[in-house]
């Protein structure tokens, strides 16, 4: 899935303002293949803003973001193809089933067989719900389906904003395993979570925002 090289994602001296609030003040970090970055901090410290900046929605006023050594502004679509983003919203249509939703979300990037989608849904524990309308699913099940989209995107860089919201204990365990797997295969995951993370066998690093 990914060739190993050094420092895949690098943030250099990011400054971000939201209105009159100076959210990011000269943030720098690097994340390379196999790294898991846990972004932590109190409410309103800019965790979501940071993730949205890394996903390319927000432009930092100063500083720059590099992917594989090149500024992401040079090839935004190329960078977007390399990342998968899970926001607060699940990005699923309530009137479509998980299977339909995932087909549209994934096929836009690369053709995916129905069997692949089904197996990922099974792995995340929502196999039986695959043909129900998305609106009929519980909040936790919806989050799992959304995570299936990230998994199916075949992206090297995962940006997960509060992926464990609404998940039960088993859900947290399943999801942690998926994220740890991703890192083991040379991927990068940057995620925000309030709780401590338990990700066995992977290099977990912390990024504290004040």
């Amino acid at each position: 899935m990914a060739e190993t090289d050094s420092a895949a994602l690098e943030a250099r001296d990011l400054h971000l303002w939201r209105g009159s609030k100076h959210v990011l003040r000269g943030l720098s970090f690097t994340a390379s293949a196999g790294h898991l970055l846990h972004v932590r901090g109190p409410n309103g410290c800019g965790k979501t803003s940071l993730l949205r900046t890394l996903a390319g929605f927000l432009w930092p006023e100063e500083g720059a973001l590099y992917w594989e050594g090149r500024p992401v502004t040079e090839d935004r679509d190329g960078y977007a193809a390399a990342l998968a983003y899970l926001g607060h919203e699940n990005a699923m249509k309530a009137d479509l089933s998980p299977l339909e939703n995932l087909r549209y979300a994934t096929d836009v990037r690369h053709p995916t067989e129905r069997r692949t989608i089904e197996s990922v849904l099974e792995r995340l524990g929502v196999g039986p719900q695959r043909d129900l309308p998305f609106r009929a699913l519980s909040a936790g099940q919806r989050r799992r389906v959304a995570m299936a989209r990230v998994l199916l995107a075949r992206a090297r860089l995962w940006l997960l904003d509060e992926p464990f919201t609404n998940l039960d204990v088993a859900g947290v365990r399943d999801l942690s395993a998926v994220v740890a797997d991703h890192a083991r295969q040379g991927g990068i995951a940057i995620l925000t979570a309030h709780s401590e993370l338990d990700l066995p066998g992977s290099e977990l690093r912390r990024l504290e925002l004040e």
Partner: protein
């Protein structure tokens, strides 16, 4: 696709689209787009007989007739090739005079253009009175076809 190629395709796409739109617009101009009819078009029957439209032309010198005791006026409009009789009831604008360009809105009734609105069209030339006087001496009708 590399970003450079993508930019190239975008620019080519825009040029192609704008070019095609221009071609189609040029094609539109081959057809008669006019809203206005001049006296010649009315005289040759190109103007609609059953619908109101606008007619533009010059008030023929010496054609203005007022009906005593009413606001009814009649005159003829010319484009120096054909003339159309016009009748109108109401106050005429200040700039209305013989030899002046006007625009009238109304409909044809039995070969007479019955106007419900008369607007004086004034040209883009501004002239002091004494110059205008001398110009009138040198050449008849001072107005032009604008």
């Amino acid at each position: 696709m590399t970003p450079r190629r993508k930019r190239l395709y975008t620019v080519l796409g825009i040029l192609g689209g704008v070019g095609l739109a221009t071609l189609v617009a040029v094609k539109a101009f081959d057809n008669n787009l006019s809203y206005f009819y001049d006296p010649s078009q009315v005289a040759t029957g190109k103007a609609p007989g059953d619908k109101s439209f606008r007619i533009g032309g010059m008030v023929t010198q010496g054609s203005l007739k007022r009906t005593p005791g009413s606001l009814e006026v009649s005159f003829t409009l010319t484009d120096f090739a054909n003339t159309v009789p016009v009748s109108y009831t109401g106050l005429l604008p200040d700039l209305f005079r013989e030899g002046q360009g006007i625009i009238a809105h109304g409909r044809l009734q039995g070969g007479v253009f019955v106007a419900d609105e008369v607007l004086a069209k004034h040209d883009e030339k501004y002239t002091p009175p004494e110059v205008a006087k001398s110009m009138k001496k040198m050449q008849p009708p001072a107005g032009d076809k604008t």
